[in-house]
């Protein structure tokens, strides 16, 4: 049986040559992401913005969006967002945060129930008051920050500090571009999006660790090569694995995106984007960082690396 190979064997691409393109490109995209975040903003779901969301299904026939909108607007609950959900009979109705504190959200749900419950089945209701939404926002932000700090601390112990810096910059890059993705697509940003962001951070570091592990190993082995040569050699060596893993995860996420239902669609979309960005940044952003920080093969001459696996037992050549 002839086996499938998506990545060609024994490649010798000069990945490091692209750093003169990849750095300006990523810098531009990161700045655009920040500007988009500041001036366009994300489409915050009710988890963070507060408000009410109702998932309704017409008891018979299809749902009439225009009628629903007109009737909901007549209730005096502020702007109403109505959208169809997959099937003809299903709609999602969303209200902004009602003025008047936590109790006002409850009142809004009661009004919607009395207005629509004769013709529509209420399949799901969510009402989030201002207290909770503010807290969710805080704990979400805090979670992302703590996760990054924790993971980077681990990397700092496990690798040389220059590697950890490379990983920080790569992770920040992925984070910014994911935020930019939410701003551009205006996909709803909710609690599962925080989960998506943290998973992207995890995946991005996973990718980075695989590349950095190999770079460290190759550096110990070939002390006379220049840093860009070492990095190119390492990336080429792990390239089949990188492509293979990105593909399997992509396939799983693709299934989730198309079949997993609307509740987790924005999660799946963000994750798919994150896989691409993380793969790109581990090769074109993190690794070249080592060149910029002047990492050379002799960083391993210090006694720090006794835990190292590979070839550390070989005689050392002073550079």
């Amino acid at each position: 049986m002839k086996l499938l190979r998506l990545a060609p064997e024994n490649t010798k691409f000069g990945f490091m040559r692209f750093r003169r393109v990849s750095y300006p490109l990523s810098a531009t995209l990161s700045i655009i992401s920040v500007l988009m975040f500041l001036f366009v903003g994300m489409n915050f779901g009710i988890d963070f913005a507060g408000g009410t969301q109702v998932d309704m299904r017409a008891k018979s026939g299809e749902a009439h969006l225009a009628e629903i909108r007109a009737e909901a607007e007549s209730l005096g609950l502020g702007p109403v967002e109505v959208q169809r959900l997959g099937a003809e009979s299903d709609v999602l109705l969303r209200l902004n945060l009602q003025p008047g504190g936590d109790a006002a959200q409850e009142a809004a749900v009661a009004k919607l129930r009395s207005a629509f419950s004769t013709d529509y089945e209420f399949r799901g209701v969510a009402a989030v008051g201002p207290t909770v939404s503010a807290e969710l926002e805080q704990s979400g932000t805090l979670g992302v920050v703590v996760a990054i700090v924790a993971v980077l601390t681990y990397l700092w112990f496990r690798f040389e500090w220059q590697f950890a810096v490379g990983a920080i910059i790569g992770t920040m890059h992925d984070l910014l571009l994911t935020v930019g993705f939410f701003c551009v697509t205006q996909l709803e940003f909710n609690q599962t999006s925080i989960a998506a962001i943290l998973t992207i951070v995890g995946y991005s570091l996973n990718e980075t660790v695989v590349v950095l592990d190999r770079i460290r190993e190759v550096m110990r082995k070939y002390k006379r090569l220049s840093t860009p040569e070492i990095i190119d050699m390492s990336i080429n060596a792990v390239l089949p694995r990188t492509i293979m893993t990105a593909t399997t995860v992509f396939l799983a996420l693709l299934a989730l995106f198309f079949l997993g239902g609307h509740v987790i669609r924005s999660f799946s979309a963000a994750m798919i984007w994150g896989i691409f960005v993380a793969t790109y940044s581990s090769i074109f952003i993190c690794s070249p960082m080592l060149i910029y920080m002047g990492v050379r093969a002799d960083v391993f001459d210090k006694p720090k690396d006794q835990d190292a696996d590979a070839k550390s037992a070989q005689p050392r050549v002073k550079a």
Partner: protein, 529 residues
């Protein structure tokens, strides 16, 4: 190399068998599981996986104790204590008692009387947590001013009261919700002043809110006489039919002494009413009040609204009575539930509400299953087409990986949510990563000219450090997500975290065994990848 002791093989097989047995009940109908559990000895876990409310349907509510209402009731109690203390000390209340936002002011013009009052009222300030608790916090600041004695609640006292209020509210809510006949209800404290309520299967939260939204503080107060001093009476609205009624502020008997309340019917009119019964203390108080005030109207007040104000015809000494008030049947039975469960010590506000109907929940389960199935099939096909027989090994390991996630969720009692399913689907993609790392490493080693067995061995050994490093980073992300995430997101963190652990076990240990067996059976001279 690549040989395994038989006991290791046996223990892996035993693990898989145990996992299958643990998971099987989750796919059986609930009734069959119960009868199976009854027939097997207790240490065998015959449990079904716990589905989150987003999958099984139900209502979730986050309630917050209203600090302001705790303070308000504390001040009301303080005012009554002050009045009682002064009365017992035979000190005349010339200027009355004024309530303030954080305390009360007793107005006494005469300086000697004021001094006496000050000394007496100092006894009201208690150490926080009772006299034995130690510490130097006290419940009240008492001070003497030119116009009277000032009593102010301390912040520590209020915080302690809020904490107690949450604990008591949880008990009361449990009693009330259980009286509604729901199953597997969860009522828990969250943080300092929050309570989470989860009622599986409930869709319309209207009745739930009627039951949990009321304080249900029942008071019996005498209707005011024209001669009563104005600062000792209050005007309350009637619960039905509009109108108001002026009553004495003093609470003669309250609902705390009730031991039972049942919905019943008025024998004369046939209308629904509520029959209540007091404990001994309540019965004595009730008997005393009713015998001293025959002929006067007695107001029954629920949460500051007057239900009715019947005239006391004869002293009621038996300790039980009826509340009538033009109730519908539902209103009467709700009131009985509320009175039986007791009053909430404070007002509760709903700050977050989520309900999912069973239809939507089932849709989510179906969607999750479809996505997991299709995603799994895609990954399986891709692995086999890339790695041939080794791909099949990886796929077998993947199947066991999914099995182990479910089994450990059942054992831990972890909740499966829709984001949790998403996490499992994601780990289907990630689990093979370890295999990919190993296989690619084996290929590389083989290209370097190593023999088959040496390439296999080196591949596993070299890839392992990378596998650990890369999975630790992912695991840390999952852990943080669990600690900081709320609700459904935690479900994602659980399945992601468990998935990382099980994928290391399956992808490293199991594939290694399968490849070892495969090698020693045929002793191939060429690698199939």
């Amino acid at each position: 190399m690549l040989r395994f002791a038989p006991w290791k093989l046996a223990s892996v097989l035993a693990l898989v068998a145990a996992a299958i047995l643990i998971v099987v009940p989750s796919f059986m109908p609930a009734g069959a599981v119960d009868s199976l559990a009854a027939r097997l000895p207790g240490f065998i876990p015959v449990r079904q996986i716990v589905l989150g409310l987003d999958l099984r349907g139900g209502a979730y509510m986050l309630m917050q104790v209203d600090d302001a209402s705790v303070v308000k009731s504390q001040i009301e109690a303080l005012r009554d204590d002050v009045r009682q203390t002064l009365r017992d000390g035979k000190i005349g209340l010339s200027g009355g008692i004024a309530t303030q936002p954080r305390g009360v002011l007793v107005r006494i013009v005469d300086p000697t009387e004021r001094d006496k009052a000050y000394k007496l009222l100092q006894s009201l300030s208690q150490p926080i947590g009772g006299p034995l608790a130690g510490g130097n916090g006290r419940t009240l600041d008492v001070s003497e001013t030119d116009s009277g004695v000032q009593l102010t609640l301390t912040d520590a006292a209020t915080a302690e009261k809020v904490r107690q209020a949450v604990t008591q509210s949880i008990e009361v809510l449990n009693r009330r919700i259980n009286a509604m006949g729901t199953k597997e209800t969860v009522v828990e404290r969250q943080g300092g002043n929050r309570i989470v309520i989860e009622v599986p299967g409930l869709q319309d939260t209207t009745r739930l809110k009627q039951i949990i939204g009321q304080t249900a503080k029942l008071d019996f107060q005498l209707v005011a006489d024209p001669g009563d001093p104005p600062n000792e009476v209050e005007t309350l609205p009637m619960q039905k039919g509009g109108g108001t009624i002026t009553v004495q502020k003093r609470i003669m008997v309250d609902g705390a002494d009730l031991v039972d309340a049942q919905q019943s019917f008025d024998p004369q009119t046939g209308e629904p009413d509520v029959t209540f019964r007091f404990n001994l203390r309540g019965a004595q108080k009730f008997a005393q009040v009713t015998s001293e005030n025959v002929g006067r109207p007695f107001a029954i007040v629920l949460d500051g609204k007057v239900i009715s104000a019947p005239v006391i015809r004869t002293p009621i000494t038996g300790g039980s009575g009826q509340i009538t008030g033009n109730f519908t049947l539902d209103e009467a039975s709700n009131l009985a539930i509320l009175l039986r469960a007791g009053a909430l010590p404070a007002k509760l506000t709903v700050v977050e509400e989520r309900t999912v109907g069973p239809g939507l929940g089932q849709d989510s389960i179906d969607a999750g299953e479809r996505a997991a199935f299709v995603g799994g099939i895609l990954v399986v096909i891709y692995m086999i087409s890339t790695y041939g027989i080794f791909g099949i090994f990886a796929d077998l390991a993947l199947a066991v990986h999914i099995l182990l996630i479910f089994a450990s969720m059942v054992l831990l009692g972890a909740t499966l949510t829709l984001p949790g399913i998403a996490g499992i689907v994601f780990t289907i993609g990630m689990a093979v990563d370890s295999n990919v790392l190993i296989y690619e490493r084996i290929r590389e080693e083989a290209h370097l000219g190593r023999s088959v067995i040496s390439a296999l061995d080196a591949g596993f050994k070299r890839a392992f450090a990378t596998i650990v490093d890369s999975n630790v980073t992912m695991f840390v992300a999952a852990l943080i997500l669990y600690l900081f995430g709320s609700g459904a997101v935690r479900g994602f963190a659980v399945s992601l975290g468990l998935g990382i652990v099980t994928s290391i076990i399956t992808a490293v240990t199991m594939t290694r065994m399968m490849i070892g067996l495969w090698y020693h059976r045929g002793r191939p001279r060429k690698l199939p990848i």
